[in-house]
Symmetry: C2
Subunit: 138 residues, 2 copies
DNA sequence: TATAATGTTATAATCTTTATAAATTTATTA
DNA sequence: TAATAAATTTATAAAGATTATAACATTATA
């Protein structure tokens, strides 16, 4: 267990982020759970373990993780920001019925985007919406 | 000019949306301008012509257009919702420097998404971020 | 024309995010 | 180790976007 804590501390230290307990817990939450949580999800779950946790800390930490590329924003919802610790290229599917978000493989770099040849591309996101298999059955 | 107004009225009527003056002006704005405007952009420009326009009407109308597929949401920003009357498949590029949004061609249907074969896909969005050619020069 | 249905407006309420300053914790130095 | 400085967290206020509500206006129908 302490080895895992050390793992999160190391990830933070590599990016020159001081590994405070709050930061380790937030990073752990993102890595262990793969639910693409909102700020509220993270806050409401972690407050049980960290009773003095402030929502501002969650916002600050997530922004720090994003800047250092330890997490990415999932903007599939425009009314709430979700976060994902899996930073490699993949797409996100949102079920309109149950609200779950699924990862899917997609070779984003294979897209032919001739019209962007003079643009500097920093980030690529692919978002699909629809109904997931479980909800389709019901 | 009246022919154009009739064009917007017809588009609305086709979807069984009563063509009020506000709705026609909002649809016209989206179709004529191709700037992927925010609710604020639309409201602040149209208030000049329609002094009694309410922001609630802009929200209501955009939601109606979206539901009837006369417009789509551009959720590339998660802090503000943009709208686009071009509903055919294409990608959106956002310049991090000047904030402009560019359309680009991308054959979204050619993506291999085996892992989604049991999903019902209703909408596909491709969002890129980076720096546009104009800002790169400066 | 009278009535009902629909659409618009103004305002309040809600929700998410950011800003600010005080309090706490951690690091540094004497 | 104690004192000081720096960084982090917290609580709260403020800002910005969106939704809800009810009154008012317009359009359609009888």
């Amino acid at each position: 267990m302490n080895q895992k804590i050390d793992e999160f501390a190391r990830k933070l230290a590599e990016k020159n982020i001081r590994p405070s307990y709050q930061r380790m817990k937030i990073l752990e939450y993102l890595i262990i759970k793969k639910t693409h949580p909102t700020v509220d999800n993270i806050f409401n779950d972690l407050i049980k373990e960290l009773p003095t946790l402030s929502k501002a800390t969650v916002y600050n930490t997530l922004d720090l993780l994003r800047k250092e590329k330890l997490a990415r924003v999932v903007a599939i919802e425009n009314n709430e920001t979700r976060y994902d610790a899996r930073v490699s290229n993949h797409g996100h599917f949102k079920c309109e019925t149950c609200g779950s978000i699924f990862d899917f493989e997609v070779d984003i770099d294979s897209f032919l985007t001739d019209s962007l040849k003079n643009f500097k591309i920093n980030e690529k996101n692919v978002y699909f919406n629809g109904i997931c298999p479980k909800c389709l059955k019901q």
